[in-house]
Amino acid sequence: MKIIVLIKQVPNTTDVKIDPETNTLRREGVESVINPFDMYAIEESIRIKERFGEGEVIVVSMGPPQAEDALREAISLGCDRAILLSDRKFAGSDTWATSYTLSQAIRKIGDYALIFCGKQASDGDTAQVGPGVSMHLDIPQVTYVKKIEEITKTNARVERMTEEGFDIIETPIPAVFTVVKEINEPRLPSLKGKMKAKKAEIQVWTAEDIGCDEKMIGLDGSPTRVVKIFNPPPREGGQILDGEADETSRKLAEFLKDVVIG
């Protein structure tokens, strides 16, 4: 059973601080990490391989050459091999072009049973690439997966998180699953895994390697354009209420009266 997990390297938000004077991002020394949701996708892929006792987990990322670090980390966690999609021609890709590019790589890998990704990436927050990949490949999708109840080589029964609770969905395989945090608790890399990651050869595929139509990739392949980037208006300065609890709670309730009565 071949399982493909799609990951993205993102800036670590714990490091992102706002400069209070300019209200812009301070990025000195911000390290790059695997998108937090993708950690659950990696873990679930490995667990399913373990459940079947056979198979291969292939981790794929599209990004600059330094995204190799994220792929090595995925190998240290238990993925079997890694492929980096890296090409100047991919620059400026929006979610349409990204999902096309990833689906081309998945086609080249071929003979896959499951495709896992995090529900969304922490830098863009779009949640569009997973469903996009399923559409390009014309296979079923289940988004926001919080539990895989049953899985065979042909079918899966999963729980999809909703605003009110969850849906139970049965789907044939191959399928794309995007996962939420509740699905598992990711393991830490083992020593053996770290050794393996250090030595692993990361395959690099270009647009040509995966047979991309140049009109579908990078900036040219992206229907959307960013026309402006700006800082959000700063929140107006807050007010600290002083005094004993009796007094502060009474004052606060008074301030909030209109909001609460609505």
């Binding site: 800036p11 938000t13 714990t14 992102v16 990025r27 600059p64 330094q66 100047r88 620059a91 349409w96 922490s122 830098d123 927050d125 949640a127 569009q128 469903p131 390009h136 079923p140 999708q141 988004t143 926001y144 029964r157 998180m161 605003e163 009110e164 609770g165 969850f166 849906d167 139970i168 969905i169 049965e170 789907t171 044939p172 939420v180 945090k181 990078g218 900036l219 229907p223 959307t224 354009r225 960013v226 402006k228 980037i229 700006f230 800082n231 959000p232 929140r235 007010q239 600290i240 209420l241 609890a245 009796d246 502060t248 709670s249 009474r250 309730a253 909030l256 909001v259 609460v260 609505g262």
Partner: protein
């Protein structure tokens, strides 16, 4: 090779002022010999540096794709009206409010799109809330949302009627559905918008959304494809008020069995019994964090939430400690919320939490630690023990509300 790069620094014009370095959200610009150098591997061609440069020293060569078709055929603003159990969700009324404004600016019609089973009765409400026309697809096969039939039906409708703009709530359903449609019809799609407007000259939809967890805002367009599609964050736009006198038409559409078919199968919809309303719909959220200390202590938080008819939220540390289920988690790995009032109790305010709630209208922080970062986003702050303040606050609100 250099000539083919889509972004270039004109060395004669660059004075080495470093404004572009500061402006770049992706850390892609460095200075070498007092000239800007752009790392194409990191650059996303967002154009922030072009705007920042006072010397016109950076240019992006956009090879505009030839226009696909004559866009004059595309008209009207569409709103996908999400329904659950036969009831249109409030996010649809928010989109109708915004959609009405956009349609008026474009001089076009506002149309609701409603998919469901035995749901015709809901059309009147959509018209009262501003729709000039409702496209209704009524079939037992569409009773509850499923990815494949819903996306196939919507693709068919869009291809047939050619709307100029399609809006959809950035909900679980909306985000799963609309991404499929955008890929299928090769249209531009912007996720999770918090602002929408029309460019008065080009008549383009200007879609503004937070990025990097709300640390920067980006305005996005889709100049060369139609329809222009966006998902919109719930609770940001104001609901359209109903006007029962409004008139509109209902156009019924039907499709073949293939279009309604699905490879995956919805077996069951499980609603988890909650003492309080769900986070996404709540106007008021009371959240607890590490300071709550134990699962049973969440009763204090729940009491306040119940009094205010609000929902209970939690920080990641409270969820990870097992005090409250994940479905309550607000923040980066949980839910993004923007209620009218957010009361954070015993939450320090790590950036991952702030990302999920800082666009709330009014934020209250109650925390023992005066240095807690949560106070930096708070409208009102109380530096005190939450177990002293929260029960008293509950009592005060009970007095006001009863």
């Amino acid at each position: 090779m250099a000539g083919k790069d889509p972004i270039k620094v004109i060395l004669d014009k660059c004075v080495g002022c470093e404004l572009c370095v500061k402006a770049c959200p992706f850390d892609a610009i460095t200075m070498e010999n007092k000239k800007a150098v752009i790392d194409l591997a990191k650059c996303t061609l967002c154009g922030a540096c072009v705007d920042a440069c006072k010397f016109d020293a950076i240019i992006i060569e956009k090879k505009e794709a030839p226009k696909q078709a004559d866009f004059s055929l595309y008209k009207d603003v569409w709103v996908f009206c999400e329904q659950k159990k036969g009831k249109v969700q409030s996010v649809a009324y928010e989109l109708l409010g915004k959609g009405r404004e956009l349609a008026d600016k474009l001089g076009s019609k506002l149309c609701g799109v409603l998919l469901g089973d035995n749901i015709e009765a809901e059309c009147d409400e959509l018209i009262a809330r501003g729709a000039d026309r409702v496209y209704l697809v009524d079939s037992p096969k569409l009773r509850a949302y499923q990815d494949e039939p819903y996306s196939k039906v919507l693709c068919e409708l869009v291809t047939k009627h050619k709307p100029e703009v399609v809006l959809c709530g950035a909900t679980t359903i909306g985000r799963s559905l609309i991404s499929r449609v955008a890929v299928k019809i090769r249209a531009g799609l912007t996720a999770d918008c918090t602002g929408l407007d029309i460019d008065p000259e080009e008549k383009l939809l200007l879609q503004t959304r937070p990025a990097f967890g709300g640390n920067i805002m980006a305005t996005i367009i889709a100049p060369n494809t139609r329809p222009q599609m966006a998902t919109v964050r719930h609770k940001v736009m104001k609901e359209a008020d109903p006007d029962p006198k409004r008139k509109g038409e209902v156009i019924k559409e039907d499709f073949d069995e293939e279009t309604y078919s699905s490879r995956s199968r919805l077996v069951d919809i499980v609603e988890e019994i909650e003492e309080t309303v769900n986070l996404a719909e709540a106007d008021i959220i009371v959240s607890g964090g590490r300071g709550v200390g134990a699962p049973e202590n969440f009763d204090v938080i729940k009491d306040l939430a119940l009094t205010l008819n609000g929902a209970v939220g939690a920080s990641r540390s409270a969820v990870d400690a097992g005090w409250i289920p994940y479905s309550h988690q607000v923040g980066q790995t949980g839910k993004t919320v923007c209620p009218k009032l957010y009361i954070a109790c015993g939450i320090s305010g790590q950036i991952q939490h702030l990302i999920g709630m800082k666009s709330s209208d009014v934020i209250v922080a109650i925390n023992k630690d005066p240095e807690a970062p949560i106070f930096s986003v708070a409208t009102y702050g109380i530096v005190d023990d939450l177990f002293k303040v929260v029960p008293r606050l509950t009592q005060e609100f009970k007095k006001i509300l009863h």
